[in-house]
């Protein structure tokens, strides 16, 4: 069975701040995943700069497989010193997991990780040592199929200070919340992260007293999505394409009104065109038996492209109900994406005199494919 390592995170800035002082970097390379979490001193833009520098340097050097000592001394030498406090400081936690499921976790001044295994949360076995004057915890273990691992910044273990509690949740309190949430719904990591953020926010009385971040990680089965967009150049290929998409494995999307009409005709299925505008710029979606999503063509594809451009690995995709947001979510939830693209020119669009970059389907799909490859999805395109 093909497994992928999936990870999601959410960062919440301290109440009243625009940016979060925590930063997360996720890198996937050669079947390895590197996750870095850093929490800058204080909050706001200063903290954000500290943590961004720390995590960017760490992830960059880890990617080049430099030793830990080198990474630490580079970070310590680079961080700007805070004018007020006279120190430069950010916490750092990172983990590397390889294709043999072996996981190595290093923590420097950040709260210990939470491992959800056999229906309960446990602490990892750490080895402690000192390097460059810093106390460092290291854990090495085999990540199992049903394990889930959570990393948090100290804003989470302090949740409740200034809110519902006098001294914050503490590690045990957070462990209890994670256990309770994950037990109820082990399959949906995204949902759990959102739920936990809500819980911690509530402890803070909806005004976070510190920046906080939670990252969740687990294995799941690989997912596939197939997209048919555009009528083929040769009309006799209509039936071939309809057959290809209906027999494909995984989720199925049809993108384009004309394409949907062709599919309905060739497969002899009823096409129900939607009425509801969730977003005024994106035409409604339709429904047809056997397909997960049917959207309008060009405008939706352009919005999908702009959503993908903004996406950073590990983020939880936007929750919109319109066609483009749903399309983007399906793409991001999948690991391999297969496009079946018809290149026939839609006569009706020619009369609109659209700007050239908006009007050409094959170009937009190539750009979407490029964005998907950037976030390490496997992309296949077949032209017709």
């Amino acid at each position: 069975m093909d497994l992928v390592f999936e990870e999601f995170y959410r960062s919440i800035p301290k109440g009243g701040e625009e940016v979060c002082g925590d930063n997360v970097e996720i890198i996937k390379k050669n079947k390895k995943t590197i996750v870095v979490l850093s929490d800058g001193l204080g909050s706001g833009i200063k903290a954000n700069i500290l943590s961004t520098l720390t995590s960017k340097i760490a992830s960059g050097l880890l990617e080049k497989e430099l030793p830990l000592k080198e990474i630490l001394s580079t970070i310590l030498a680079t961080l700007p010193v805070c004018e007020v406090r006279g120190i430069a400081y950010a916490t750092l936690a990172f983990l590397i997991i390889d294709q043999k499921h072996q996981l190595r976790l290093i923590e420097i001044d950040s709260p210990s990780a939470f491992l959800f295994r056999n229906n309960q949360v446990q602490k990892l076995n750490y080895r402690e040592f000192e390097l460059e004057g810093k106390k460092i915890r290291e854990a090495n273990f085999k990540f199992q199929r049903s394990d889930q691992l959570f990393l948090v910044s100290d804003g989470v273990t302090h949740a409740g200070i200034g809110g519902l509690l006098n001294f914050g949740l503490g590690w045990d309190g957070v462990a209890k919340e994670i256990e309770r949430t994950v037990r109820r719904n082990q399959a949906d990591l995204k949902y759990n992260i959102n739920k936990l953020v809500k819980v911690f926010n509530t402890f803070y009385g909806d005004q976070a007293g510190d920046d906080f971040t939670i990252i969740g990680m687990k294995y799941r089965k690989k997912r596939k999505v197939n997209i048919w967009s555009g009528p083929p150049l040769k009309a006799e290929d209509d039936s071939l394409l309809a057959e290809k998409i209906s027999e494909a494995e995984g989720k199925k999307i049809i993108c384009g009104g004309t394409t949907a009409q062709i599919a309905a005709r060739e497969l002899n299925k009823k096409l129900e065109v939607g009425l509801k505008y969730y977003d005024k710029d994106i035409p409604p979606t339709s429904q047809m038996e056997g397909f997960d999503l049917l959207t309008e063509g060009l405008l939706t594809l352009n919005r999908v492209l702009s959503l993908l451009k903004k996406y950073k690995p590990g983020q939880i995709p936007a929750a919109g109900k319109d066609g483009a947001s749903r399309f983007t979510r399906l793409l991001l939830e999948s690991d391999s994406v297969r496009f079946l693209v018809g290149r026939a020119v839609n006569e009706s669009h020619q009369s609109l005199n659209l700007p050239i970059n908006l009007g050409i389907r094959s170009q937009i799909i190539s750009q979407i494919a490029e964005q998907l490859r950037r976030i390490k999805k496997k992309v296949e395109i077949e032209w017709f």
Partner: protein
């Protein structure tokens, strides 16, 4: 039972030329008129995209519409 059928095209050209405004104007019709109309959408009506937005009311196709024109058509042709 609504006796009248209004079909609005939501294909890309019609959408860009204001199909969403047409839909909104139908939803904002007064209650007595609105309940006589069954609203549907379509991906294309009659292939006359250069005269978007297009709608079909009780089987007849109207082109180059705007909310005022559509309102007039509905009031004049409603059964």
């Amino acid at each position: 039972m609504s006796k009248n059928t209004l079909k609005i095209c939501i294909g890309t050209p019609c959408h860009l030329m204001g199909a969403a405004d047409l839909m909104e104007s139908v939803e904002n019709l007064n209650h007595k008129l609105r309940e006589k109309i069954e609203l549907k959408t379509s991906h294309c009506i009659d292939n006359c995209c250069e005269k978007a937005p297009v709608a079909e009311f009780n089987g007849k196709v109207y082109q180059d519409l705007n909310p005022e024109k559509l309102d007039k058509i509905i009031r004049e042709n409603i059964k």
